[in-house]
Symmetry: none
Subunit: 238 residues, 2 copies
Amino acid sequence: MNSHKVRFVLINTTHPGNIGASARAIKNMNFDELFLVSPRLYPHEEANARASGAEDVLKQARVFSSFQEAVRDCHLLFGTSSRQRALPIPLLTARQGAIRINEALRVGQKVAVLFGQERIGLTNDELSACHYHLMIPCNPLFPSLNLAAAVQIIAYELHLALQDVELPSSISSWVNTKEMEAFYSYLQETLIKLEFLNPRFPGHLMRKLRRLFNRIMIEENEMNILRGILAAIRKKIE
Amino acid sequence: MNSHKVRFVLINTTHPGNIGASARAIKNMNFDELFLVSPRLYPHEEANARASGAEDVLKQARVFSSFQEAVRDCHLLFGTSSRQRALPIPLLTARQGAIRINEALRVGQKVAVLFGQERIGLTNDELSACHYHLMIPCNPLFPSLNLAAAVQIIAYELHLALQDVELPSSISSWVNTKEMEAFYSYLQETLIKLEFLNPRFPGHLMRKLRRLFNRIMIEENEMNILRGILAAIRKKIE
């Protein structure tokens, strides 16, 4: 699988641990392009420690002294921020933004997503250089995400948008309706033999048992176990 | 805005920083219920540092010595893991799982999401106690997310799913994990008395029966029927 082509740009990052954690977060979601603008402490052992398997992404990370330089070959810039601004630019949620970015990539645009300094986020100047303002929906009373956590969510939404998600499948052999009916008959007979069920009025209780078993899809091998239990009961009491 | 009611359970966490970062991650997404099972180092200053504004969630976090205790009042358990297992349980992506959890909360079920130890994830035993296996779609060549990053993505998807328009709900009285355990014991004893189960090797078959019953949420009145059937069997054969 080729890596997705979106650039993640971290501006003025204070904690080197967040740089390493961001490298890991984007690699987890199949990205590899990390650009750093004036990081306070970098390279740093804390960045390596938190990268934890994404040292390759960290090693390739390019460092710039201005964000304009870091995005000069890009076409479309997305600035992440939890705060609305006085002079707003078009605002998208992370999920909406991912769809927009997918569209951009498919027409050959180069896209960068910008993340500001931990404490203050993107400055007004940085955000106003962007085409879109990306916002991660969250608790309005506690909206400040950890930097690497924000990178993780954006990378995750992009990964989902940029490829069809295929889950590994596990095919089972399921019991069909006819087999279920045979099971219910056998169950009903057995419950009557157990004197648990009144043979003159089986309906109410059997309906409840059907309602219960209808909430599961039963596999063939499980049905064999259930039938085995009923057979063992009948052998014992007959 | 009231906080969302889902329990986040971290099992055998090695790094206290991940506990603090998880507290922050869930508070960012408007959750506050963090349960810890046998954390290696806790309380710890690194947990406090990474909580960074979520010290209240951390302070309320309850600590247990077994995960069974931490979820005994819960009805529906979701285990997060990036690995498929030999005996699979129903598999959902994070997004699908969030929709399923929304449905469960609306019928009055108490839900917990379990996260395993950093290096190894959930054990087979822990995952097989769950009703669903939650998987975060990611890079198959580098699927191991940082623990707090995984918590962040799950909390984010849940926040989005739970703030949806509220549908009318129908509250039932559900059987909880503790009552299910009592049922399994009674079932196992009964199957041994029936000579259906070899008392020296009950494990394999009981795991299959657990896997089957874990796919249903059982109501109290249904449990009374099941228990009644087992009692009738024992009365008959004793």
